[in-house]
Subunit: 230 residues, 2 copies
């Protein structure tokens, strides 16, 4: 497992949030493999923070479903299950497409600007070959779009769907088979639909976008086996 970067009072968000961010990155990218143990004191030493801070980060990740905590026993990286992801993708499709109407109805001028910014960031990340950065902005793109629907309680659900979908994609496909720039540009049709304030087009674009994220066909058959120990 990786040598963790000590957190040194960097960003404006709290230390536990920074730790959670770093761990999330490792888990989504597969640097920390499913099943890997996460001991609080060990992580505290690695990140140079107190155990309680690690604890909070782990609790957050547990709520996201990325780690599994068994009370007073252990904490480890959660597995990535195909059936689960399929269902999450279905739910995501349902939520995002259904929100299209509300989004168009409530679309304000900052929405388009924010989406454009995220798209730009995605394209930049693609050029840099920084896949995780791309994924992050992908997430933000969809969450920002959904935020316009003004359904705050549903947002965390969508967020969970997004994260798990992305993790599954990373864990179950060969790195060279993923064209980052293409992934970024796949959001163009969504942006266009929002620009045109075309509810139907937005729903269609989202539906197509989501259904083509993961091809459940080819990659699962042969070497889909997890246990891709580093």
């Amino acid at each position: 497992m990786g040598v963790a970067e000590a957190v040194t009072s960097g960003g404006s968000l709290g230390r536990s949030a920074q730790v959670a961010h770093a761990l999330r990155r490792d888990i989504v990218l597969g640097t920390r493999a499913p099943g890997e143990a996460l001991r609080e004191l060990e992580l505290a030493q690695q990140f140079n923070v107190a155990q309680g801070t690690i604890r909070e980060a782990l609790m957050g990740l547990a709520e996201e479903g990325l780690v599994r905590r068994r009370a007073r026993r252990d904490t480890h990286v959660a597995p990535s299950n195909t059936d689960d992801v399929g269902e999450l993708l279905r739910i995501r499709h349902d939520i995002e497409c259904h929100a299209a109407r509300r989004v168009i109805e409530r679309c304000d001028d900052t929405l388009l600007a924010d989406l454009g910014l995220q798209l730009q960031a995605m394209q930049f990340a693609a050029l840099q070959e920084d896949e995780y950065s791309l994924l992050e902005h992908d997430c933000r793109f969809h969450l920002r779009l959904f935020a316009a629907a003004a359904l705050p309680v549903v947002e965390p659900i969508l967020s969970r769907c997004l994260v798990h979908t992305q993790r599954y994609k990373i864990l179950n496909s060969a790195p060279q088979s993923r064209d980052l720039t293409a992934t970024a540009n796949r959001h163009l049709s969504i942006l266009d639909a929002v620009r045109d304030a075309d509810e139907g087009a937005l729903a269609t674009a989202l539906s197509h976008h989501i259904t083509t994220i993961v091809d459940f066909g080819p990659p699962l058959g042969p070497a889909a086996g997890r246990g891709t120990q580093a």
Copy 2:
């Protein structure tokens, strides 16, 4: 606000879980009204535990969407929004009905027993006029049923839908208008469908059950029309 019961090393689960349970109860029942401030030190004194313990409980509730935390600012009871609940109900409908097939396929012998137990507990709670207990077992009934679908990552999503749905119902209808025994017995048709291992009947029973949980008609304004999707 209520005088909190000091937690005295009661159950087998940790103190923070007990605190979270108590707070969840108060919030769902409306004893702690939406918008009410929740100060960590104050609660720590009321429950006779350390601030950190309260903190964990609040973080858990925040992830459930029952409280809203603004970093370094404050923590308060989350509002209960009609639009959100409508959407959550839609998602819940989608998840539970779609799981019917998997549930029947993987139904093992303990499922029926567990569901029967929960139903009994609901009926008992109804007789006692203990609405929260009824709600809890209602939750467990549905979660136990869904657990048979073996989609662990989706479970927390369903859980969130259940909790918010129930809270909304409590907060937006007169207590005397709710027939507890009828609510409990409404699960009979679901149990029957599982007993018969009839996938179609289960999906139908669940669909009817969920769509008739909240009548968005009378108590709310005019257009409460949730899409008659399906």
